[in-house]
């Protein structure tokens, strides 16, 4: 039997190497024995190349998000899954920046990342996916995912614990038969809650039961905003980093999550 029972899980780094270091330090302090990244290393923030060495040096197990697939394969589009023209406009700006600034040498690494991760944690069948187990860019929001739908995903994909990211706002829910679904949020930008911290999940499995704690982490967000401006990244993105409110890519939000935001 494994002695490991505490896992740090995060996603959506979006080039935010400062938050990445802060999250890894926080997870270490809290005794996480393994660390997982659910993908989307690039986008939004500055200096894409800086995250790779941190992930490798700190032994993070990384899977592929839509961004990683697109950058890795040098595709024209981030594959983010937005449907509104305004959302797509801003997504295209941030993708063009990351695509231009990611060294070609990292493309094989991004291309080769696994698209799904499966583990056994104390007999619990764990499934890690980027958006959802069935689609890399599916948004699983708290207010638009019915219990029955989540149960169906767990049934169809043979999992007791499902961990996802992509939508950028963390939440968790226990569904029937003590199964657990956690959206770990994103560490690349705040969660549209007016706080400048970013969120990740610490999952503890004991006695066949999983428990997740969603943890906010502060980092030098003012430095990040300043570097974003120096790199010519749209001002709207820097404002989000400084205020904790999303200013772009809002059209995709369901009514409840939208009502909690400022815009």
């Amino acid at each position: 039997m494994s002695d490991i029972n505490r896992y740090a899980v995060f996603g959506g780094i979006y080039n935010n190497y400062l938050a990445l270091t802060a999250v890894l330090d926080d997870a270490e302090r809290r005794g996480a024995q393994e660390t997982y990244c659910l993908g989307d290393l690039g986008g939004f923030g500055p200096h894409p190349d800086r995250v790779f060495s941190i992930l490798q040096e700190r032994g993070v197990m990384v899977m592929q998000g839509n961004y990683d697939h697109s950058i890795g394969n040098d595709l024209e589009d981030c594959g983010c899954g937005y449907s509104d023209p305004r959302d797509n406009h801003y997504a295209a700006l941030s993708y063009a920046y990351t695509r231009a600034k990611t060294s070609a040498r990292w493309r094989p690494y991004l291309r080769g990342l696994p698209s799904v991760l499966r583990r056994r944690w104390d007999q619990q069948r764990v499934l890690m996916a980027h958006g959802s187990p069935r689609k890399v860019n599916e948004f699983l929001w708290e207010s638009s995912s019915s219990d029955r739908f989540l149960s169906r995903l767990l049934d169809e994909h043979e999992a007791d614990i499902l961990l996802v990211t992509h939508s950028g706002i963390p939440w968790q829910r226990q569904v029937e038969r003590n199964r657990l679904v956690v959206n770990v949020g994103a560490i690349g930008r705040p969660a549209n809650d007016g706080r400048t911290e970013v969120w990740y999940a610490l999952v503890t499995v004991t006695g066949g039961r999983a428990r997740a704690e969603l943890i906010p982490v502060a980092y030098d967000h003012l430095r990040l905003a300043s570097e974003m401006r120096a790199e010519g990244i749209p001002e709207e993105f820097a404002i989000t980093i400084e205020t904790g409110w999303w200013t772009t890519c809002l059209e995709i939000l369901p009514a409840k999550e939208r009502a909690r935001g400022r815009y």
């Binding site: 023209p85 029955r148 739908f149 009514a255």
Partner: protein, 304 residues
């Protein structure tokens, strides 16, 4: 003087089944309720299913039918729900049914907003706050002035609709505004940003505007023209995966008092009724109707 009577012409499949593109069925994620059938409090000139105040050819759903489909949908693991019509707020059990749906999943209501007075706005707010899931209202408005809106939606509707939107804004709700591009240029980038500014001025704190292309069936076929059936927009065989994902018929069904239909657009289409139960309706769909072109080619999606 001649009196023009409303004419409803059911539109037959114009594409031979063997030639039609096929949309595989992926999973039942969304169920639409044709809550009030074709009953509406207005009769828009571009209505693709020719709804109106005396239009009862598709009857209102009974509470029992709604509950029966809701229960089946929940068993099948449906993700989200929509109420459409006609005007869903005309249903006498609208609020209790909305509450029942919101107990099992998120709900979007497609309304023209005219029945949203102060009291209904308060009820909507109460429901929004009480529900675990999202309760989204979608209000149709087809212009930034009475001159632009009223010729298609009816005299006085601009004022009535914007009053309803203002009531929702007053209670802190921010509905999605949907605009049908009934005139050339309405969907342009400039027009979209003007519309967004316009709804901000109506008081919406988190404005969201969805533009939708015209469907040239129902009353719209009389207002302007129907589809040119000779236009070859399709090819036989399964459609590409990305297109299938975007099309409603790969993952949604419409339930009516009479049974399960493919989608809200094909309400009047002979051959578009699938079965009496959702379970029996989870089948691939052949795109045999001209109106399917608007989803495939023009990118229409009824989703919010």
């Amino acid at each position: 003087m001649t009196v023009r009577l409303p004419i409803v012409v059911p539109f037959s499949p114009s594409i031979d089944e063997a030639q039609a593109p096929e949309v595989p069925f992926s999973a039942l994620d969304t169920v639409w309720f044709q809550l009030t059938g074709t009953l509406c409090n207005i009769a828009c000139q571009h209505c693709f299913i020719s709804c109106g105040p005396k239009e009862n050819r598709v009857p209102m759903m009974t509470e029992a039918t709604v509950r029966s489909y809701l229960s089946e949908a929940a068993e099948l693991g449906v993700r989200d729900y929509y109420f459409t019509g006609g005007e869903p707020l005309l249903h006498p059990q609208f609020w209790t049914l909305a509450e029942s749906v919101l107990a099992v999943g998120p709900l979007t209501v497609l309304s023209n907003g005219i029945l949203i007075d102060g009291a209904n706005a308060e009820r909507a707010r109460t429901l929004f706050d009480a529900a675990r899931y999202s309760f989204d209202l979608r209000i149709s408005l087809d212009g930034m002035s009475a001159e632009e809106n009223d010729p298609v939606r009816g005299r006085g509707t601009f004022e009535a609709i914007t009053r309803g939107i203002a009531e929702l804004a007053r209670v802190g709700l921010s509905p999605t505004i949907t605009v049908v591009e009934h005139r050339t240029g309405m969907g342009s980038e400039q027009s979209r940003s003007q519309f967004l500014q316009f709804v901000v001025e109506l008081g919406l704190s988190r404005p969201r505007v969805k533009f939708m292309p015209l469907l040239r069936i129902g009353r719209e076929a009389e207002r302007t023209h129907g589809y040119d059936s000779a236009l070859a927009w399709y090819s036989p065989g399964p459609v590409e995966e990305a297109l299938a994902e975007r099309l409603l018929c790969s993952s949604s069904r419409l339930v009516t008092e009479h049974g399960v239909m493919i989608c809200p657009i094909l309400l009047d289409a002979p051959g578009a009724q699938l079965a009496k139960t959702l379970r029996q309706s989870m089948t691939p769909i052949a795109l045999r109707w001209d109106a399917c072109r608007t989803c495939v080619v023009d990118g229409l999606s009824c989703r919010t």
